[in-house]
C-alpha cells in the first residue's frame, strides 16, 4: 500500500461542546488512527466519547493507533477520555497501539492501569433495603443504650472513689469547669428567664381577667417558675451551652488520642475528665435554677405592674403567701438531676466519638438531643413521683 491510502477515507464528527474539531478517525491499512488535535484541557471542553465509541464498536477495527503531532495542551481531560477509550477497546477486543501516543501520556496511562482494582474494594451495595436499615438502626440503638448504662456504672464507681477521696482529678479542673458552667451562663439565663416569666404572665392574664382574678397571676408565675420552668429552661440552656461543649471537648481529645494517652498512663478518663464536669454541673445547676426562678418572677412582676395595675408589693406578697418554699425545693432538686443528666449525656457522647472531625460535630449534636430527651423524661418521672408522695 502506498502512503496516500492512509488518508484515503476520513471520518469526522461534529463536536457538540466545541466548534473546533478535536479528533478525526482515519482509516489505515489494518485499523483506524485517531488523530488528536488542538487543546485537550477541561476548560476548553472535552468532546463526548460516546459517538466515537459507538463508531468504533460498529466498525470493529483490528487495532487503533494515535496521531498526536497536532495535539497542543492537555490535562486530565485528555487522560480520562483515553482511559475510557482504552477500557472499552479492551472490552471489544480492539488492540490499542499505546506506543503511538506521546511518551508522557503513555507513561501516565500505564501508571493508571498498573495496579488492578482490588477485588471487593468497591462497595457493592450502596443502598440497603428498608428492613435491613431498620434492623441496623435497632441494633445500633440497643448498643447505644447498653453503652450508656455501662458508662453510668463507671461514673458511679468513679463517684464512689471521689467520695473516698481517691479519685484522680485536678481540683483546678473542677473550679475551671464550675466557672465555665456557672457565672458565664448568667447573662443568657437572665434574658431567657425574664422572658419566660413575662410569657407565663401574659398567657395567664388573658384567662384570669375573665374571672377578675388578676392577682392570681402571681400564683401562676411563681408556681410555674419554681416547680417547672426555672429548672427546665436552665437545663435546656445548659444542654445547648455546656453539654455540647463537653461533647466537643472530649470528642476532640478522642480524635487527638489524648484519651488513649490518659488510659495508657493508667488514669481513668471517667475520673479525670468526666467527674469534674459532672460535679461542676451538679453544683452549679441548682444555683442557676434559683437565679432563674427569681428572674422569672421578676419578669412576671413587670407584666403585672405594667398591664394589670398589680403593684410590686401586692405581687410579691401574693407569692410569699401562696407559693411555699417546698415548690422551690422541688425545682432545685430537679435542676440538680438535670445537671447530672446533661453532664452525663455530653461526656458520654464525647467519649463515644469516632476519630474524625465530622464525628465531633455529630457528638455535639447528639449530646444536645440526648440531654433534652433525658431532661423531659426525667421531668415527667419526677412530676409523677411528686404527685404520688404529695409534694
Amino acid at each position: 500500500m502506498i502512503d496516500g491510502d492512509v488518508y484515503g477515507e476520513e471520518y469526522s464528527f461534529s463536536m457538540s461542546i466545541d466548534t473546533t474539531e478535536k479528533y478525526q478517525l482515519i482509516k489505515t491499512e489494518d485499523g483506524l488512527c485517531l488523530q488528536l488535535s488542538g487543546d485537550w484541557r477541561f476548560q476548553s471542553g472535552i468532546p463526548d466519547i460516546d459517538i466515537l465509541l459507538k463508531h468504533l464498536i460498529n466498525t470493529q477495527p483490528v487495532n487503533l493507533s494515535f496521531d498526536c503531532h497536532r495535539l497542543e495542551n492537555w490535562d486530565s481531560g485528555l487522560m480520562t477520555f483515553l482511559v475510557n477509550l482504552l477500557k472499552s477497546c479492551k472490552q471489544n477486543n480492539i488492540s490499542v497501539l499505546q506506543k503511538t501516543l506521546p511518551a508522557g501520556i503513555h507513561k501516565l496511562l500505564q501508571l493508571s492501569f498498573a495496579v488492578p482494582e482490588r477485588k471487593g474494594a468497591r462497595r457493592a451495595i450502596l443502598g440497603q433495603p428498608v428492613l435491613a436499615k431498620i434492623g441496623n438502626v435497632t441494633i445500633e440503638m440497643h448498643r447505644n443504650w447498653s453503652d450508656l448504662l455501662a458508662f453510668v456504672g463507671e461514673i458511679f464507681f468513679g463517684f464512689l472513689n471521689f467520695l473516698r477521696g481517691r479519685a484522680r482529678f485536678r481540683y483546678s479542673d473542677l473550679f475551671f469547669q464550675i466557672e465555665a458552667a456557672g457565672p458565664s451562663a448568667l447573662l443568657i439565663i437572665t434574658l431567657i428567664s425574664v422572658l419566660i416569666g413575662m410569657i407565663l404572665a401574659f398567657v395567664g392574664a388573658v384567662q384570669l381577667r375573665l374571672f377578675g382574678a388578676e392577682i392570681f397571676i402571681a400564683n401562676l408565675v411563681g408556681l410555674g417558675m419554681a416547680r417547672e420552668m426555672g429548672a427546665m429552661m436552665t437545663a435546656i440552656i445548659m444542654a445547648g451551652r455546656t453539654g455540647a461543649a463537653y461533647a466537643a471537648q472530649l470528642g476532640t481529645m478522642q480524635v487527638n488520642e489524648e484519651i488513649d494517652a490518659l488510659k495508657t498512663m493508667g488514669i481513668s478518663p471517667i475520673e479525670f475528665l468526666v467527674l469534674p464536669r459532672l460535679i461542676a454541673l451538679c453544683l452549679t445547676m441548682p444555683l442557676l435554677c434559683i437565679y432563674a426562678d427569681f428572674m422569672g418572677i421578676i419578669g412576671g412582676a413587670i407584666v403585672s405592674a405594667t398591664m394589670m395595675d398589680i403593684s410590686f408589693f401586692q405581687y410579691f406578697q401574693q407569692i410569699q403567701d401562696f407559693v411555699p418554699l417546698k415548690h422551690f425545693g422541688v425545682g432545685i432538686f430537679k435542676a440538680g438531676v438535670f445537671g447530672v443528666l446533661v453532664a452525663t449525656a455530653g461526656c458520654f457522647r464525647g467519649l463515644q466519638c469516632g476519630r474524625s472531625a465530622s464525628s465531633v460535630g455529630f457528638a455535639a449534636t447528639s449530646a444536645v438531643v440526648t440531654s433534652i430527651v433525658l431532661i423531659i423524661v426525667a421531668d415527667a418521672i419526677i412530676t409523677v413521683i411528686c404527685q404520688i408522695i404529695g409534694i
Partner: protein
Amino acid sequence: MAEIPHFDIRNLTIAYGDVIIQEKLDFTINRGEVFVIMGGSGCGKSTLLRHLVGLMEPSIGDIFVDGVNLWQSSSEERNQIISRNGVLYQGGALWSSMTLAENIALPLTEYTDLKQKQIADVIAYKLSLVGLAGFEDYYPSEISGGMRKRAGLARAMALDPDILFFDEPSAGLDPVSSRLLDDLILELRDSLGATVVVVSHELASIFTVGDNSIFLDPNEKTIIATGSPKKLLETSDDPRVIQFLTRTT
C-alpha cells in the same frame, strides 16, 4: 534458666467486629531490644500497637507482659502494668488544656511522691533531652507538630518506663529531627536498658534502630517474616519483604 521475655504474644487475632485485620500472631519481645513492627499502610500495625499497650482487648489470643497475662488479670493489675508503659502517639497526643510542664507533671504527681521542686527539675531535664528546654509554659497549640511530638516523648519518658512504644516516630518530622529521634531511641536502649517497640515504615529508621522485627502483610493477614531488619534484607527470599526493604516495585 531461660529469661522470661518482656512481651510474649500468643495466637493473637485482632479484628474490628467481624473484620479480621491480623490473625495467628505469635512473637516475643525481649528485654532491652528495639523491636520494629513493619508492614505497608493499612496492614494493622497501629492497631497491633494499641493491643500491646492494653488499649484494645484481643478478639482471640493472649498477651503476656513479664509472664503475666494482661487480660486475665484484674483491672487494677492491668492498670498497673499499663501505666509502666511509655507511649508516644502519632501526633504526640498532649493534653491540650495543659501546658507542656503540666503534661509531664501529671504522671509524676500521680505515681510518685516527688516534691514540687523535684518535679520541676525532672520536667526541665526531660524537656532538655528532647531539645525543648525552656518550653515549660507553652500550650500544645502554641508549638509546631514536630515539637509536639518531641514533647509527647518527654511525657512518655517522665516515669522512666522500662518499655517505650513509638507509633510512627518519624512521621511529620524533618530528616534531621528524625535522625536525632533514632539516636535517642538507641541511647534509651543502651543507657537505661529499656525495651523499645517501634511501629514504622521509615526504612532509614528501621535499619538504624531495629534489633528485631516482624513484618505484617495485609493480604496474608499475618506475620510473613521475622528477624533483624538488616538480616532480613540479606537473607529473605520473600519478594514482598524484599520489595518493602529495598523500595522496588
